[in-house]
Subunit: 190 residues, 2 copies
DNA sequence: GTCTATAAAGCGATAGAC
DNA sequence: GTCTATCGCTTTATAGAC
């Protein structure tokens, strides 16, 4: 099973999948070594702080990806391109969650006992998402209050659709929900 | 710490809180004995099948409660009282989730590895909820397709709002989302 | 940087006294 | 029906060889 990862950063996405599949407490070191293909020794060489440091690294990478691909683009959008900026968010989100086949690790942590341990990162992720989307909606001509309300509906709707899609084992349910949310935003413009 | 529970049914709600707080894998027998006030021996006297049987019992009780308090009332509603039947659902749901301070155990299980183990019950819970609400919406004058779409939006919206409320540690976020969903149903009638 | 061996603690579950 | 004691296994984490 000898392997050479070279970079700690190469391990993080593999760790993410293990935490996503089993949660923090369910992600045993046996499952982690299986999912990463690395022995315990190698894992602890990269993450001396153990599972806690691994989860922090995973949350950090997720946050970084969303900041680059979703939050920043939403915030940077001009008044004339607000609409298409929001559309790009839906495209990126649909792709990220593999059209409903992949759940949101931050959402999983938010619901469970993990929330207390990783409170800062969990809270920041959703707060940033809601704020960035609200900013884009406001840029598109909505008043602050309804932009915030709509933004919470959409971010919450995405999380809930992931729950339903996974419960039903029917990923298409997620994509249909995404499309309805886009449609609803179009209908309620101005 | 001597106690007399008398009834197995008295233990189930206490077990529910432990599973809700820690998930299935996180709910260790130490936490279970602490949460129920019963020793391991007593617990295994009630649930010879161990944790799996405990979780089944909890899911069964949750399903029973929702069937009695939410699903059946929604399905039994007449054409003239469809609107107020849906309103009663929102009231019951707000009360059940303690205004956003309590998460949905079935939702937690749906997102995690628990989904595989309890697939039938998890799937049935959400499917029944969506169908019952869609039936009431249809009774209220909507066509089948839009009733189903709205129903998925609402049930998903409730689950997502629970995620966001817990992530932000702000239960009021959940109640505000509930009110907006009710408002939206009113606005889109006929 | 990788592995195996090992330690100490916690795990689910069982047995048996009361 | 309740408890304590205990079993065997898995857990996280460390030590040390290569």
């Amino acid at each position: 099973m000898a392997r050479v990862m070279g970079e700690r950063s190469e391990v993080v996405p593999l760790l993410a999948e293990v935490f996503r599949a089993y949660g923090f407490e369910g992600a045993s070191l046996a499952r982690i070594t299986e999912g990463t293909g690395l022995g315990k020794g190698s894992i602890y060489n990269f993450f001396p702080g153990g599972k806690e440091e691994m989860a922090e690294a995973v949350l950090g990478e997720i946050d970084g990806w969303f900041r680059d691909q979703v939050f920043q683009p939403l915030r940077a959008v001009g008044a004339d391109e607000a609409e298409q900026g929001v559309e790009r968010m839906f495209t990126a989100v649909g792709r990220y969650f593999l059209s409903g086949r992949k759940v949101c690790l931050v959402g999983v942590f938010a619901l469970g006992h993990e929330r207390d341990r990783f409170a800062v990162k969990v809270q920041a992720y959703f707060a940033e998402w809601v704020q960035a989307l609200a900013a884009a909606l406001e840029r598109g001509g909505r008043d602050a209050a309804s932009a915030l309300a709509l933004s919470e509906d959409v971010v919450g709707g995405i999380q809930g659709a992931l729950v339903l899609a996974r419960a039903a084992d029917e990923p298409e349910l997620f994509m249909r929900a995404l499309e309805r949310m886009q449609q609803r935003l179009k209908e309620t413009r101005h």
